[in-house]
Symmetry: D2
Subunit: 146 residues, 4 copies
């Protein structure tokens, strides 16, 4: 997994209430997984989303794109890898990949280059900070992020 060495990681296990009629995780729930992973990434960078809300600094999503490659089901364990890059002066771009966890018995041997991880989904998310009136601006926290 050399590719993801510098990406932030958040681990999950599918919860049954996230599955729908088809017996698979509902499409919209991937949006939840990706959001939680972004907020964990922000916390890791010293940025607390909930605190920003109270200061009326709103980090909002302008554009979201998800590729669904394989369906998640009950009991699946997986990790979302997140990295960020600036886009223009006011926006940031999050790249997020959702991969299966390493099978327990392969964890030690193949830690860095494991072909058996499955790529379930990929997201690209464009974020921007807006003030109370909805105007985009560059908050101090952006410097911490990138």
């Amino acid at each position: 997994m050399d590719k993801y060495r510098h990406w932030h990681q958040t681990s999950f296990k599918v919860r049954d209430y996230e599955c729908d009629l088809q017996g698979r995780v509902n499409n919209s729930v991937y949006g939840n997984y990706f959001e939680h992973s972004r907020h964990e990434f922000l916390l890791f960078k010293g940025i607390d989303f909930a605190e920003l809300c109270e200061q009326k600094i709103h980090l909002v999503v302008r554009h979201l794109e998800i590729d669904y490659l394989k369906s998640l089901s009950s009991r699946d364990e997986f990790t979302v890898f997140t990295k960020v890059e600036p886009q223009g002066r006011l926006k940031v771009l999050f790249h997020q990949h959702l991969l299966s966890n390493l099978p327990a018995d392969e964890h030690d041997l193949k830690e860095q280059n494991n072909p058996s991880r499955i790529l379930y989904a990929k997201a690209i998310v464009t974020g921007v900070a807006v003030n109370e009136k909805g105007k985009p601006f560059i908050p101090d926290v952006f410097q911490k992020m990138i």
Copy 2:
């Protein structure tokens, strides 16, 4: 609203539990709105998503793109407009626009061409039918859809 004359319509009202820390509808919930609108569109075409599930015909989303233009808040009432077009032999493309409802007092006068409706979000969703083994195929219902 000439533009949407031939689009299918599903109406909603924001529910408070759909709003998050920011006091606005959470991004992932738009995914729910768009999904429900697609399923209502399918029902209108005589296609019952839940029944298909029981027949092991799975309509799945391969790609989702959402543009967030303006935030929905508590009490907002809105309509999702949906239309579909074929993409290649195996896929269908849904175009979905989420607009504010007409203000009640303007409803009669301006029914067909109303500049005061607000476009909140737009989605493009690529769907495909897969069998139990996950192989794409063309189910009979596709003919009803388009």
Copy 3:
């Protein structure tokens, strides 16, 4: 439906994303239905939940009880009936019944006394108002509610 003549009503249609692995509406979603119905009831009484939040007046649930009598499934249409009564000096008690809608063809004939409505679920919810420090108090809006 003489019994419910003075209860507030909120109508719903099951959305497929609310159904889980069992092909039925997930238990927790009933909590959403009941909450939305309480907030609609409050609005009807002139009380705006979201506005109260901004004024740091928090209406919170202390106790929730739900009886699940019959499962809701895809496409079901139903109504939540809500009434409220004071409990002691600081609390209010919501009684909520979730019933199937009238079948369309029976709507006219049996409007007031229809034996064919199905009772899906019942809830009793104890609410209290707390200030920013979490202390219970009696807000002015309580007088409007009851």
Copy 4:
């Protein structure tokens, strides 16, 4: 924590999308936490909820009671403790307590008897197994559960 020595434990961290307008975890989400904890408990006992669904054995909730004692907020980490007892011949009763995790620095010293854990919520859930026609019965798995 002697009291909970024989209870099953499932750990969680609040995700921001689970918080609502009030900046606290929405009431219905506690239903999700308790459900996921019951399913983890069942897995621990060798009972796979999703597999049972496929065999048309449905474990369903008949009655749910939640006491909300303190609100969960962004970043809170907590554990749901679950135990089960039979109720009559056909039902099982789950007792579930949601407590804050031990502060990291107190973890070693006070592992077994920690006064600083906070009780956020308690649930009592009555479950029953029903066949495809909705009739209650005693599945073999009940013996594993208790």
